[in-house]
């Protein structure tokens, strides 16, 4: 696809699975959760029911580890018909605490890309999820000094982006968003008239998957973050 990013002045980066590994840890936690529930249901059924509980609670809890922990506890009670042991519930809580304490693992080329872009563009981080979780990860990532601004949004819909761009006085046409989620980091931006680049991560949470006719949307898809350096001089 031919692209022209000469107008771009500000670049927004998603964080989870764009700058650092995230979804992988949720997948690992789901596997451990299924192990704890072994005997009550099949792995497949356990995965499905946990996902259903998460989606049911999403409006209440929002994105992030704490909501995930609460949904695991609820789901364990439900799947076991209240038979799951108290000790196992404590293990579920500890599983979540480990996730919160997880080290931050940067994705390949992140530092190189940010270092090359930071003098020419205004770089910002736009992430959704739990405020404290995201601030903690940014702190641990040692990437903060590359960014002019960090915003944690409760959701990444068109209205969230529009409000934020207005607040930061960023012209929509001069804004480029980069992220791994078509649903959260790409489509809403295209819809409001900004630019977006999609970098898929190998693992995507079911809730972030969308089915759209991709021909309706004009955006660049690349394989790895360093590829953006070919398009942004």
């Amino acid at each position: 696809m031919e692209v022209d990013y000469s107008k771009i002045k500000t670049i927004g980066f998603d964080a989870d699975d764009t700058l650092w590994v995230n979804e992988t840890y949720f997948r690992e936690a789901e596997d451990k959760f299924a192990d704890l529930l072994t005997g009550y249901e099949t792995k497949n059924k356990i995965d499905q029911e946990l996902f259903k509980t998460e989606i049911k609670n999403l409006e209440l809890y929002g994105y992030g580890i704490k909501g995930f922990m609460l949904s695991m506890v609820e789901s364990a009670l439900e799947l076991s018909n209240n038979q799951i042991s108290q000790a196992t519930i404590l293990e579920i809580l500890n599983l979540g605490k480990e996730m919160i304490n997880q080290e931050v693992e940067l994705l390949e080329g992140v530092e190189e890309v940010l270092a090359k872009l930071k003098d020419k563009y205004r770089l910002i981080v736009l992430t959704k999820g739990d405020l404290l979780d995201q601030e903690r990860k940014l702190e641990r990532s040692n990437l903060l000094h590359y960014f002019h601004h960090v915003e944690v949004l409760s959701d990444k819909k068109e209205v969230n982006y529009m409000n934020l761009l207005e607040h930061l006085e960023i012209d929509t046409k001069e804004f480029l968003m980069i992220g791994n989620s078509l649903k959260s980091d790409v489509l809403p931006l295209i819809n409001i008239g900004a630019e977006a680049i999609h970098i898929p991560f190998h693992t995507t949470w079911q809730h972030e998957e969308v089915s759209v006719d991709k021909n309706d949307y004009k955006y660049l898809k690349i394989n790895k973050l360093t590829d953006i350096l070919k398009y942004l001089k």
Copy 2:
């Protein structure tokens, strides 16, 4: 105390227990939690242990209802020596969900004060806690239109205020903060050279209590929000 607020251009309002009732619902939840644990420990011991668990988890979970829910579950397991029934754990989760769904009850005079101040000052909301919880409460409060900006902070320490004022390009000397917590809404502001007004709420979470020599700090203490109209013309 004699005060001069003639330089003030921006007023920051805390939200929980300044604009609307909050702590009361936590206190009610703690009472219900103690009822659920009846038989395992005294009410006093249950309160103490829950508080200890909350403080222990504060760095991990931050402020807000979800962290409170997780601490209640953990505390129930601990206080009962893993004997608490699975059905009771589900009740604890439901107790938290009710808190999240709680209607917003504005404190006396809030609308009147905001309406009178909004044309003369730039009004902002500065609250700490869970991003989604606070956005939801603001939405339900119908107060959003009075505010130029809303910021949910992960904490309210001096550094949080300094970063925010810098980001919003607010001169510290032209900023006045109003809130119910001496620790979070008053002292850090005085320390960075801004102004602050303290309006105590009848209930204060133990963690928000501070012991300082109040003579060391110059701030106005008033009884109810409408009293600020005497000082801000």
